[in-house]
């Protein structure tokens, strides 16, 4: 599976990746609107560069190994490809926005100003990569410092470990995306001074002083949250039918016995 590794310590914040992304995907210019988050992403900006003190953090879709958005979509408009990208089929979408609610990183964005709105997010330049038009996504290709690179996921994880072990004073020990939410295909390594926990939506909430329901399990894939409930649906369905049929049968039988008893009593009364 292909992946992207972004090294926060190497990013100079030039936003070449943002420009390249807009060019290759033909995204129109965007002005700030009241429905956008303050992270620079929108239905027309699929990647953005955030400033965190002295560092720049590039934000984009994380292309999870087990994507919550794909598990949530009722028509399967989002799905994980073999390449590694999580792609979107606008012909299937019905606009319920459950993917936006389910994404642990809050990535999918919506065309709020359109009468025919679609979900928009980074698709890892999937169409162009598959057709062979380009050999790597526009963002990694146009990065002047090599802060964001494209390659096999296993190789990039090795590379990340190598960089961290070579420079243990500079880098934080964590490879963001290695095991987080079951592993993602967009990985980050970062400086000790710039933790990236804020990328996860629920960490934002913890920062704001809001608690989570239950213990958060940071490494388990998000689809697991609903899997147990969804896999018990057939049993609930059949079980409810069986219970109701059983009760109906018992009640009917009781009524029948009561009726026979009454008739018998009536007959006995008449005989007497």
């Amino acid at each position: 599976m292909k992946a992207i590794l972004t090294d926060i310590t190497k990013c100079i914040g030039c936003t070449q990746c943002v420009t390249a992304c807009k060019m290759i995907n033909n995204l129109p210019p965007d002005k700030p609107r009241e429905w956008q988050k303050n992270d620079g992403l929108s239905s027309r900006n699929w990647t953005s560069v955030l400033r965190k003190q002295d560092f720049f953090v590039r934000k984009q879709c994380r292309h999870c190994n087990e994507p919550a958005c794909a598990a949530a979509c009722p028509v399967g408009a989002l799905h994980k490809t073999e390449l590694g990208a999580v792609v979107y089929d606008s012909n299937k979408c019905l606009g319920c926005r459950y993917c936006m609610m389910a994404c642990p990183y809050g990535i999918p964005r919506y065309d709020w100003d359109s009468a025919v709105p679609y979900i928009r997010k980074c698709i890892l330049c999937y169409d162009n990569l598959i057709s062979g038009k380009i050999d790597q996504p526009a963002c990694t290709k146009n990065c002047p410092t090599g802060a964001t690179i494209f390659g096999e996921r296993d190789f990039l994880i090795q590379e990340a470990h190598r960089r961290i072990s070579e420079n243990p004073n500079l880098y934080s020990d964590i490879i963001y995306g290695e095991t987080e939410v079951g592993g993602t295909n967009v990985l980050y390594i970062t400086s000790k001074d710039c933790p990236l926990d804020f990328l996860l939506y629920y960490n934002n909430r913890i920062e704001k002083g809001l608690n989570l329901v239950g213990e958060p399990d940071f490494d388990s894939p998000y689809p697991q949250l609903t899997k147990w409930a969804m896999s018990s649906v057939p049993f609930a369905f059949v079980g409810m039918g069986a219970i109701m049929s059983g009760i109906y049968w018992v009640v009917k039988r009781r009524q029948k016995i009561e009726k026979e008893k009454k008739e018998k009593e009536n007959e006995e009364d008449r005989q007497n």
Binding site: V75, A77, G95, M100, A229, A236, I247, Q255
Partner: protein, 194 residues
């Protein structure tokens, strides 16, 4: 002006405002008509309309269960009203959602593109099937008005024969529907307060 006319007038005004908002939504999009953002893509009405409206419809299957399955005949007189209320509750939910969905003309996609892992897929199917069951449960009331039409009489008799399986199917579907509305939020523990 009589009191009933005043009530009607107020309802007509509300209807007029709602209709103009609905037209605006289909010309300028959801951003112009709602306060939804990328941060909160679901509105308050998901909780109010979908959860509340469907919960209102719970009376339909509870009363039907009491009447037909548990044999509690005291509730027989209100069973038809309860089924009608449930039917109208579901119709209101579906119509309300058509304006909330971004691409409502694609709603039938749930029939052909399946993703059984999704709680919303379960909700959609339960709503579609239970709406059909409620329709069939209520139809005899309409058929009784036309005793002279032989075709309707035949359907009426056929429906009367399967009324117990229909009621049981209705209970099964609404059990799933009511529970799957809760499952929806299992996917986003971090969005629930506290």
């Amino acid at each position: 002006m009589k009191k009933i006319d005043k009530t009607k007038l107020i309802l007509w005004i509300i209807l007029g405002i709602a209709a103009s908002v609905a037209i605006t939504r289909f010309i300028f999009g959801l951003g112009a008509t709602t306060n939804l953002t990328d941060n909160t893509p679901w509105g308050f009405w998901i909780g109010f309309d979908v959860m509340g409206g469907v919960a209102l419809a719970a009376g339909g299957f509870v009363i039907a269960a009491f009447n037909y399955i548990f044999g509690v005949k005291e509730f027989h007189s209100i069973s038809r009203a309860a089924i009608l209320t449930a039917f109208l509750g579901y119709v209101a939910e579906v119509i309300g959602l058509l304006f909330d969905l971004g691409l409502p003309w694609n709603i039938w996609h749930m029939l052909i593109f399946w993703n059984p892992h999704s709680p919303l897929f379960e909700v959609g199917w339960c709503v579609m099937l239970y709406l059909t069951v409620l329709f069939l449960e209520f139809m005899p009331v309409v058929f009784e008005r036309f005793p002279n039409l032989s075709l309707l009489n035949k359907i009426h008799k056929a429906l009367f024969k399967v009324r117990i399986p229909l009621v049981i199917l209705g209970i099964m579907l609404s059990t799933l529907n009511q529970s799957s509305l809760g499952s929806l939020f299992l996917a986003m523990p971090y969005r629930l307060h506290p």
